[in-house]
Amino acid sequence: MTAQKFSDKRGLRYFAFLLRQNWPALVTNSIVLLLINVVIYSMALSDLLAGHTYIYLNTYDRIGSLILEYRVANVIFAALLAVLWGCTTMPYLNSKVGVNFHHSLPLKREHHYLYEVGAKVLLFVLPMGVSTLLGYLTTVVVAGDLAKNTGVLFLSVFINAVTNFVLYYAILIFAASFTGTGFGRLLTAGMIVFMPSILLSSLYTICDYSARYSSFTWITDIGERIMLPIRSILVAQGDKYTNVLWELIGAWLIAAVFLFCGLLIYRKRKSELSGTPVLSKIARGLMKYTTIFVAATLFAMMMEDFADGVVGIFIGGAIGALLAAMLMNTILTKSAKNMFAGVRGLVISFAAFCLIFTVVGFDLIGFDTYIPAPASVRMVTVQLGGVEVELTDRDDVKRVTEIVHTYFQNGLEENNEYDAIRTVAKDKYYDNDNMTTEDALRLDLLNIADSMFSETFYVRVTLKTATGLRFEKRYHAPANGTHEEILTIMANSEDFPDAYFGESAVYVGGGWMETPLDDLNYDSYKLTETYARQLWHDMRVSFNGMQYFNRPALACVMLDGTPVYRYPYYDGNEDAIRQYMKQLTSVYVVNVKTGEMKEYTDSVTMESMLRAGILDSTTASNFAPKDDTYVFFGIVGEKSNFNYICAYFLDGQIPAVPLP
């Protein structure tokens, strides 16, 4: 027998010992997962099949939705368990005596690490696998044929939960190897997960507050990308479970990197440092000065409300920086006596805060007013008058860029803008003679004024250059000025219907998919498109109209109380509505109480029903099913794979229609 084989056998025996030792964790974990995935799930499934809930979707689809809801529950549980176990794995790292014991045993350090980590992963994966399998079998038994194709959904439940567990656990284990203490590993893991995006959010806050025209959302975009662990939880809530493959692969890669780095550190970790944080000088510095920067930003924004302008920001920044330095010094050295240590670092951090604020605020490098040369821009996204259109036509892109470029070069007509806002604020909205322009701006009346009246457009334009750089500017332009041309370009562009009328919401395989307009449904928007010009002054109807003014919206689809809106309601667009109706292949009416559904294909009946729905004042967002409530919706296409066109909810009888 070779030494290697001998060692492997011993390792496996040790692994088995660890599994046996952790039986309480296994039992607890199994009970919780069985409760979630079998007991509570089967109760919800029975309730669903009994027709007490979700009557406006077909049962097959609803089972899919139910499973996806439980996927979220599993993912959250997995993340919490990973944090708990991550804090308690290899507890001997907190103890010199414990390290003496473990590292004198006939096991290599990497074996200690791998077996400890592997045991916990297995203790999660086994019950998770069993409980999801039982959940699937429950579905097969209870729902019969309706369980068809739900296997892949249960597989996604399993994969998402395991991925999240491994990802969070890997971060905690890395932190454990890095710090060796319970509190230290929690603090480090928290910093790893949250600090990059918090830091970038702070940077965004400073820049966004300081800049007048530039948007710095690209900073928060980076933060979102960095914050993958949290994103992966969000992914689990997404509907496109089939499209998360790369997200999952990314999460596993990150987990692998953390585990590997944890192993390297564990192997190099000095035993004599057990029980004490061994954060390297660089890591301590990163933690401390990042926190100082974030706190400076936070306090600056708070003080800005109390003190006046720039002075308040700098005073707030200084207070925040000082408090954060004191706090971090105390935490990192475990002694309040050291709270005032590292004055030089504190000064440098605060100086960085001031420098960024000053450079951006006073536009010292000209970034705020920089518009790239029109020839270098390849794509433009314009948000104007409540509509956002991504223009791709070369001529459109060039012309819009030229308009914006010229507008910025000419000084943005700032005075006119201020005067316009002041007029709105003083005469039409607040009617307050004492209100200054600055007051109005502070109250963020730009948006209020823009939404209430049409003196100015709120413009947000994103210019993407050939090199991939994005420049996003936001500003107000007079409604009757140079930007009218942009409106025309937008309305005449091929991108407009897609942008304005959005995408079809299609329910496929247990989840909502958004599909672009295609040949099937594009024609139905053509008539509506012709009314686009009329709509300019009514931009805020449609979805907002439905939501806030309590009106039914054409083609509003409900999912879990969240309206998925895609088509505008417009009071005067009867012709467009008729065109919609002609596209319908079926209208379904569902009795809320019984869940019974009836299909109508006769065009006259369909039209009368939909007109009745349009005239009804009950909205989707306020819908509360009663016994005599019906929901009906029209579809284009096949029932199993269709585009929703509309869904309305009615109390009482629908005129001239035989109801289920």
């Binding site: 011993r10 010992f17 103890s95 005596v97 390290v99 003496n100 004198s104 035993s271």
Partner: protein, 313 residues
């Protein structure tokens, strides 16, 4: 019962070689180029005051710590991350550590999984000897019982090398003797090598074959106890007249203490040599009495110019 490896390997001359081991903790040099050898089958005493580097050296010898310089070789194999060697070693640290919430039976399972040499027979036998409840959680045991548990498990492994760091502390006198007896039996039966670290000379003088003294991370001394005892004698003598005691200078005594007319003399030489000289003196009475390890060390260290009261804690 599985074969006990100690018996099979008795023919092989094994040795632990500590070669110029240096260990630094931050700014403190805990061990400074310590070199010595420990022959197999001996009970080796590693003594020194608190902070002298005994425990650090033991941890390095067990592969817990790595040395900044030097190496620890078992039959020319380095101990660091050497699982094959570590299987022959059990380390009983000064404070006992057990897997949290474990019973003795659980710990037995752990040791069984890691050490192929684990002997169920010895385990059961020692369990009866110590009278410990294997189903009770070890953290509910008294400190002494926890020590007994650690010794029980260590001996059940049948290691070739057993490291005991202040192991006798916390044991009652009866149990202390019991443990010493068990160690001596294991050495005799299986040629086990025992390394005992202690700051208390009296604890180990009746069991050690060889001792080494560490002081401030340096090795001051490493000798066979018997050699030391053979070349150092303690004599109590009563002289008729105090002047007659002047003849003691012939012995070149390391120390002479007077209590009334009785002198206690420690001198270098064999018993025969000193007996010959004593017979030539005018004594009313004299006898050779056993030296304690402490007395040997005080004498030896005094001769080397160390203040023994500081060297020995």
């Amino acid at each position: 019962m599985r074969p006990l490896p100690g018996r099979i390997l008795t023919e092989v001359t094994r040795m632990i070689k500590i070669e110029s081991v240096t260990k630094v903790f931050t700014d403190v040099k805990s061990l400074d180029r310590v070199s010595f050898s420990i022959p197999s089958g001996t009970i080796f005493g590693l003594i020194g005051s608190n902070g002298s580097g005994k425990s650090t050296l033991m941890r390095i010898m067990c592969g817990v710590f790595g040395a900044e310089e030097g190496s620890v070789l078992y039959d020319n194999e380095n101990i660091w991350e050497n699982t094959k060697l570590k299987e022959k070693i059990v380390y009983l640290s000064d404070e006992q550590y057990f897997i949290p919430h474990c019973t003795l039976a659980d710990m037995r399972a752990l040791y069984r999984s890691l050490y192929d040499t684990f002997s169920e027979e010895i385990y059961e036998s020692l369990l009866g000897t110590f009278g410990l409840d294997p189903t009770r959680k070890i953290n509910t045991f008294s400190k002494g019982m926890q020590k007994q548990s650690a010794v029980l498990l260590a001996l059940s492994v049948c290691p070739q090398y057993l490291f005991c760091d202040e192991t006798f502390d916390g044991l009652d006198p009866v149990m202390r003797q019991m443990v010493k007896k068990l160690l001596a039996e294991a050495v005799a039966d299986r040629n086990m090598t025992v390394i005992i670290a202690s700051h208390n000379l009296r604890e180990i003088e009746d069991i050690c074959d060889r001792v080494a003294l560490l002081h401030h991370g340096e090795l001051l001394f490493n000798r066979e106890l018997d050699d030391m005892k053979l070349t150092l004698q303690k004599i109590q003598a009563v002289f008729q007249n105090r002047e007659d005691a002047d003849a003691l200078s012939v012995l070149d005594p390391l120390s002479v203490e007077w209590r009334g007319s009785m002198a206690t003399i420690i001198a270098r030489g064999t018993k025969d040599e000193l007996d010959y000289e004593m017979k030539r003196m005018k004594t009313q009475f004299y006898e050779f009495i056993p030296l304690t390890l402490e007395e040997i060390f005080i004498s030896e260290m005094g001769e080397r110019g160390y203040d023994c009261s500081k060297v020995l804690g």
